[in-house]
């Protein structure tokens, strides 16, 4: 087995320009052997171009891609130790499942009996046993995707590349496939590199995520770090839902900090942020980390005081919008300063959503470790 800490793919200062458009701008990152790596970003951010450069379908304008210690600059796609599952699955329509899955092995000149065994094994792995003689047009999208997966896995690549693997599936199937893909990756131990624009997909499957924006890496981190400790406004906003307030850093000590936000009031933190004093910063606050209270009750103040002894993280507003989503209810609350803040609240009991309604005056509080201060 390969060492799980060693980088299997090294991307070194890679840029790709199409005419005047820069799709990938000087990206350097290492993908470790055995990990489930996700390239996440909005459409047109260059993530697919990066994946296609790893597969060999695009050549970098500048920089170098090293796979398993070998420089890939002059290696064509059919000679690379990687295989790809395409967004359209690209299952060969005129071949049945067996022939589709066995195609790469036939090209490689593997013996008939070995092909038979390995195809059966791969089909078993993707739970397509019994589908051997089916033609692609007799299968659903999800099944065709499994054929594409088996067709790649049967080659035993060092790295499996997946281009938007779940985008064409319906919501239920997508959730199921997220689990199955993680499970599969665990089983075969191959490094997976996936491209997606869907943050849920990235968070649920990845061991590490590189968020790409405008051809550059905005942040590279584990899913929970990405969500709880975003490095900048782009990541905070793109991954999950967030309230962002502009403010000035007025206090910054090792164990506490405060930001003065004109829209929200003073925000206290129980840790330092090591930013320049008096600088313009942004405070990011996730909707689910804000507690809602009916005003007038001392409960809110007491709760806030308990969570933030150095200064109460409190705000007041009026409910201007509500959307009931079943598991949670999302509130849009107009603060006293006029800005809108979004708060989500789990519906723990059947009648929870009746507690608050339009035009209700409410108070909010959050813990001193909830806000994230962003310097850019």
């Amino acid at each position: 087995m390969t060492d799980t800490k060693a980088p299997i793919i090294q991307i070194r200062n890679v840029s790709k320009r199409f005419g005047k458009v820069t799709a990938v701008d000087n990206i350097s990152l290492d993908i470790l052997a055995g990990e489930f790596f996700v390239l996440l970003g909005p459409s047109g951010c260059g993530k697919t171009t990066l994946l296609r450069m790893i597969a060999g379908f695009e050549m970098p304008t500048e920089g170098q891609i090293i796979i398993d210690g070998q420089d890939m600059s002059l290696v064509p796609p059919n000679k690379r130790p990687v295989n790809m599952v395409f967004q359209s699955y690209a299952v060969f329509p005129h071949m049945n499942v067996t022939d589709n899955v066995g195609y790469g092995l036939r090209i490689a000149g593997v013996g008939k009996n070995e092909i038979k065994d390995r195809v059966a094994e791969a089909l078993e792995l993707v739970k397509l046993g019994g589908f051997e003689d089916r033609m692609p047009d007799q299968m659903s999208g999800g099944q065709r995707q499994r054929v594409a997966l088996a067709r790649s896995l049967v080659m035993r690549p060092k790295v499996l590349l997946l281009d938007e693997p779940l985008s064409a599936l319906d919501a239920k199937l997508r959730a199921q496939m997220q689990f199955e893909l993680s499970d599969l990756q665990d089983k075969v131990g191959i490094t997976f590199v996936t491209v997606t624009h869907d943050q849920d997909e990235a968070l649920s499957m990845a061991s590490r995520v590189a968020v790409i924006n405008k051809g550059e890496v905005a942040q590279l981190a584990a899913p929970s770090d990405l969500y709880e400790y975003p490095a900048n406004r782009f990541v905070a906003d793109f991954v999950g839902s967030v309230n962002i307030f502009e403010g000035k850093l007025t206090l910054d000590e090792p164990d506490k900090a405060a930001v003065d936000c004109p829209g929200l009031g003073k925000v206290y933190l129980n840790h330092g942020v090591t930013g320049p004093h008096g600088a313009d910063v942004w405070v990011a606050l996730r909707p689910e980390k804000i507690y809602l209270h009916v005003p007038g009750e001392g409960k809110a103040i007491r709760a806030a005081a308990q969570d933030a002894p150095d200064g109460h993280n409190l705000a007041r507003g009026t409910i201007k919008g509500m959307s009931y989503l079943g598991d949670i209810t999302l509130y849009e609350i107009q603060l006293e300063g006029g800005q809108i803040i979004r708060v989500s609240r789990p519906n723990l009991s059947r009648h929870d959503q009746e507690d608050f309604t339009w035009d209700d005056k409410v108070s909010m509080h959050w813990r001193a470790d909830s806000p994230v201060v962003l310097l850019s």
Binding site: N78, V82, M84, A90
Partner: protein, 280 residues
């Protein structure tokens, strides 16, 4: 009773509407009545092809014993076969080139390629007559080389049709399939053979059928490029008709119709139901 209970005709059930049925019937009649008459009168026991006098097969015998007519038919089939094969290769390659690559003056190349389709046949015929005379194309070659001039002319107007049909088929090709083949280790040629070729096969069959029939029944261009020893079937029939329309001509034409129908049938069989299903 329940079996014969008729449901009311739904708004889109055109096939059950009288006016639609009669329209289809009229169309069929218009298309096929002349051909049917031609075939029926090939069995007519009369020198003149106007009144039905009785059934006979003697004109088939006569046609098949008419050496010059048989020779013309063999010439026509040979030319059609050669022209089809070569048009298929040139046309398919041209289509793939225009589909895959970007190059300077691509629009111009595309335009000039379809020129043989739009230029009036008479002009092409005259052009070929002058061209072959100018280059002193040898006319006294042994068979089948003496058919080369006509074959070249036929390829010229056949291959753009092949290219057009194949190009249309290529438009529906998912390029990721070709990339997938290469990703799995296939070379450029293997990917072409295993993925692209099967996809364009229905286009190739359709293009071949088009080229074959176009070549087989071409009169105008052939008339200008054929010599005394290279008479084709349409040219021969034309010269026979100038004297009188005998049932012999009918018999020969019926044989030709039969031949093309059989060929079409085989081609469609080759393409298979699967090929048609894949077109979606």
């Amino acid at each position: 009773m329940a079996l014969f209970r008729s449901t009311p005709i739904a708004p889109l059930e055109y096939t059950r509407k009288l006016w639609m049925r009669s329209w289809v019937g009229l169309t069929m009649l218009f298309l096929y009545a002349p051909l049917l008459v031609l075939m029926i009168f090939s069995f007519n026991d009369s020198k003149r092809n106007v009144v039905w006098k009785g059934f006979t097969l003697k004109y088939y015998e006569k046609a098949l014993n008419n050496d010059s007519l048989v020779e013309a038919l063999v010439n026509s089939l040979t030319i059609a076969f050669l022209a089809t094969v070569i048009s298929l290769i040139i046309g398919a390659l041209a289509a793939v080139m225009l589909w895959r690559f970007r190059f300077p003056f691509k629009g111009l190349v595309e335009g000039t390629m379809s020129l043989p389709i739009i230029v009036p046949e008479i002009c092409l015929g005259v052009a070929f007559l002058i061209f072959f005379a100018k280059v002193d194309w040898p006319t006294d070659l042994p068979w089948p080389l003496n058919l080369s001039a006509i074959t070249i002319a036929h390829i010229t107007f056949c291959f753009p049709f092949v290219a057009m049909v194949v190009r249309a088929r290529l438009a529906s090709f998912n390029k990721e399939e070709e990339e997938a083949a290469k990703d799995l280790g296939a070379t450029e040629w293997q990917a072409f053979r295993d993925v692209l070729l099967p996809h364009i096969k229905p286009g190739l069959v359709a293009g071949a059928l088009l080229a074959f029939t176009l070549s087989l029944d071409d009169f105008v261009i052939t008339f200008f490029t054929s010599g005394p020893d290279t008479i084709t079937f349409p040219v021969k029939v034309y010269s026979m008709v100038r004297f009188s329309v005998t049932p012999e001509v009918n018999a020969a034409s019926t044989i030709l119709i039969l031949l093309t129908v059989i060929l079409t049938f085989i081609a469609l069989k080759l393409q298979g139901v699967k090929g048609i299903a894949e077109t979606h």
